[in-house]
């Protein structure tokens, strides 16, 4: 197959074969990984669950990993990371994503409003170190908050599918009961498996009755919660994913116990535009060369050179595109137009863009 593709590609040179195939059918690819949306469900208000059928290049995911999805919105391709929520698989070409429409979240809102069966999206292979180890631990503690549920849900379902016999506690924080996605699935696991303990927390006054249950505790994560939910937590492998306050609370407790290496965490952060773009604050990270320096407010090209790097450039005035590099994360300001840009994973011209706050650039 690969040999044949190479042969055909000598005929389509210099264009890759996929540049021809995508014009016939965007789901048909020789090399690139893509996926077609086959099913869309809006079961939980404010979020959408997509079932995708990946092209044959898909290699599956480990429970907890994420994939990158790319869609074109008003002419521009945007990519975002989401964790598949289905059990770990190798041969399966289907995967499921639950996307919460964040306020101001361009891609999530777009998918929430526009995803339809038949739509083809870009897909990148699963990656990330936040996943269950090959040898499953004897005890597993899963903690998640909000949309951070997705990777741990995949872990939970994987353990369920494997008939895991160890101890599992899953503790999920949500604003309201209706906001917990895949509740039916979760209750069915809880019913089937006596060794799986599944609990939800809502940040409300103690004593409030929710879902027929009287809430105990503060509704926030603390030491008492941990003791109550998983008294064996010191012997467990803990996975936590959610908003920063939750992650901080977990890490503080585990550090105090000297157990920091038993916790794996993943944070879903959104880059926000800092209040004053003219002030030079934060750190510029040149992640391609493992260099970091304080932001001086100069253009990224100048700051890279000042740090001893020699990035490619030409005109130094924004016309030749020799200096284009990928901004991994952070916000930049176009020094010619003043335009701010906080989109992750975006190619930018480093000669006319200055970092605003923390910026990571692949140089």
């Amino acid at each position: 197959m690969v040999g044949l593709i190479d042969l055909v590609q000598t005929l389509t040179t210099p264009h890759p074969l996929d540049r021809y195939l995508e014009l016939v059918n965007p789901g048909l690819t020789a090399r690139e990984l893509r996926a077609e949306i086959t099913h869309v469900s809006h079961a939980v208000p404010g979020s959408v669950t997509l079932t995708l059928r990946a092209s044959r290049q898909w290699r599956g995911h480990a429970a907890g990993q994420y994939v990158q999805i790319g869609v074109s919105i008003n002419g521009v391709r945007h990519t975002r990371c989401y964790s598949p929520i289905d059990p770990e698989s190798r041969g399966e070409r289907y995967l499921q994503l639950t996307v919460k429409a964040h306020p101001g979240g361009l891609v999530s809102n777009y998918l929430h409003a526009n995803a339809k069966p038949g739509m083809v999206v870009d897909l990148a292979p699963a990656s990330g170190v936040f996943h269950l180890p090959e040898r499953r631990p004897d005890k597993v503690l899963l903690i998640s908050g909000g949309s951070g549920i997705t990777p741990v849900l995949s872990m939970l379902r994987t353990l369920d599918a494997e008939g895991y016999t160890g101890q599992v506690t899953f503790l999920h924080y949500a604003r309201q009961p209706e906001m917990v996605p895949h509740r039916a699935e979760l209750s069915s696991i809880a019913q089937r498996r006596a060794n799986f303990r599944i609990e939800y927390r809502y940040p409300v006054e103690p004593g409030t009755v929710i879902d027929g249950e009287t809430s105990t505790g503060s509704g926030f994560f603390d030491y008492d919660e941990l003791e109550r939910a998983a008294p064996w937590f010191a012997d467990a492998q803990t996975f936590v994913c959610g908003p920063p306050p939750l992650m901080r609370a977990v890490h503080t407790i585990f550090e105090a116990e000297g157990l920091q290496d038993r916790v794996l965490s993943e944070e879903f952060t959104l880059t926000t535009v800092p209040a004053d773009p003219s002030e030079a604050t934060g750190t510029v990270t040149f992640s391609g060369s493992d260099v970091a320096a304080d932001n001086t407010g100069a253009t990224l090209l100048e700051q890279a050179e000042a740090s001893g790097l020699t990035p490619e450039y030409g005109c130094r005035m924004g016309i030749c595109f020799s200096c284009t590099a990928t901004k991994v994360s952070g916000c930049t300001r176009n020094v010619r137009t003043g335009e701010l840009d906080a989109d992750p994973d975006k190619p930018i011209q480093i000669c006319i863009n200055a970092p605003v706050g923390d910026v990571d650039i692949a140089l």
């Binding site: 000598t10 264009h15 690139e32 074109s72 002419g75 521009v76 030409g314 016309i319 020799s322 284009t324």
Partner: protein
């Protein structure tokens, strides 16, 4: 800075303030277009790509009927159109970064490569960087004569230039190879200004790219038509020739018709953004034509707009041209445009005239733009 140009009614003088005003107006125009980029531009470029692929497939297919002359000719025409679209409206413009904002894997300046023997990275250096930054600065912009031709009076005549028309003809015929060799600066190697070691990696890249192109057009596709090998080979060569002649002609109309201004290193040493814009306007020339003509020329028929805003999607040039023209008129600057026949005619006339020593040719006085620094008096006495 004062800019003075010889208009119909005498000299035109722009004050430094006016130059900056003009610059600000052009910046605002650019910002408006950039803000408006979206789905429409995406559809445009994908439609062009689809059309190009269609012509390509048709051209390759028609070669199977190449034993019938009308089909052979139709095949050459289809393949020629495909290569012209690929090189001009798609390749040239994509590699300028005009569609980088779309963030598509297939159409961005970092990855795109075109259907000619010149490797994309080398072309981007000689064209996007050298030519577009130093447009029409003698001894900086190597597009002035491509290191082979005498195309500007500022290049000193010597007997070598007697061959000017012949060199131009050969350059036109083998244009893709000329473009490929451009970044080598072979003349500078002969003059000893450049070392062999500098060009080794360039040669390697060229060998690799050209090898693939030659293999495809002159071996693989002919072989696939079996007994028609030679007929397909000739057809593919003819299509490349058609493309060469056309792209050469359009490109030479961009900077070399009469009325276009060149500049010296000294007068452009320190430029404001406004002055940079003025240089781009005075150094470029447009061609009038239909919508189809503009597409087939990669919108380089809007060379003035392209040089002001090289990274704006080409389909926007015709839309903003009236505004650019109005600005030129407002400030009394020439807006050099004309029919294709007029522009290309004046290019060839120049090639012939400049082949002989200056004293043999009576030339109309050049509508010179004099850039004066620090308001110092010049020979014009302003």
């Amino acid at each position: 800075m004062t800019i003075l140009t010889e208009g119909k009614d005498g000299p035109v003088i722009l004050s430094p303030d006016q130059v900056e005003e003009l610059g600000a107006a052009l910046d605002a125009l650019r910002a408006r277009v950039v803000d408006d980029l979206g789905e429409r531009d995406r559809d445009y470029i994908y439609n062009i790509i689809k059309t190009q692929r269609g012509f390509e497939i048709a051209g390759r297919g028609l070669m199977y009927l190449g034993f019938l002359p009308p089909f052979w000719l139709a095949g050459v025409a289809a393949l020629g159109v495909s290569k012209i679209l690929d090189n001009m409206e798609i390749g040239h413009n994509v590699m300028h970064g005009q569609y980088d904002w779309m963030r598509e894997r297939g159409i961005n300046s970092r990855e795109f490569d075109w259907d000619t023997v010149c490797p994309a990275d080398q072309w981007k250096h000689s064209h996007n960087y050298m030519h577009h930054t130093y447009t029409n600065i003698v001894d900086m912009d190597r597009d002035i004569g491509y290191g082979i031709l005498r195309i500007d009076e500022a290049q000193k005549w010597n007997p070598y230039y007697l061959g000017n028309p012949l060199y131009a003809f050969l350059l036109m015929t083998f244009f893709e190879w000329g473009v490929m060799l451009h970044d080598l600066e072979a003349d500078n190697i002969i003059k000893g200004k450049r070392k062999w070691s500098d060009i080794k990696p360039l040669l390697k890249g060229q060998g690799k790219k050209a090898g693939k192109q030659v293999l495809k057009d002159y071996v693989m596709f002919p072989a696939l038509t079996g007994p028609l090998f030679l007929s397909t080979l000739a057809g593919n060569a003819a299509a490349n020739l058609v493309r060469n002649v056309w792209t050469y002609s359009i490109i030479f109309c961009g900077h070399f018709p009469s009325g276009v201004q060149t500049f010296s290193k000294e007068e452009t040493e320190v430029e404001t953004r406004g002055e940079w814009y003025v240089r781009q306007m005075l150094g470029s020339a447009n061609i009038n034509g239909s919508r189809l003509f503009h597409i087939m020329s990669g919108n380089l028929s809007h060379q003035i707009e392209h040089h002001l805003f090289p990274d704006i999607p080409a389909n926007r040039y015709p839309e903003i041209a009236p505004e650019v023209k109005a600005l030129a008129e407002k400030y009394g600057l020439p807006y050099n445009t004309g029919r294709f026949s007029k522009q290309i005619g004046s290019v060839w006339a120049k090639i012939f005239q400049l082949s002989v020593p200056d004293r043999f040719v009576k030339r109309a006085p050049k509508p010179g733009v004099i850039v004066m620094r620090n308001r110092k008096a010049t020979e014009v006495g302003v």
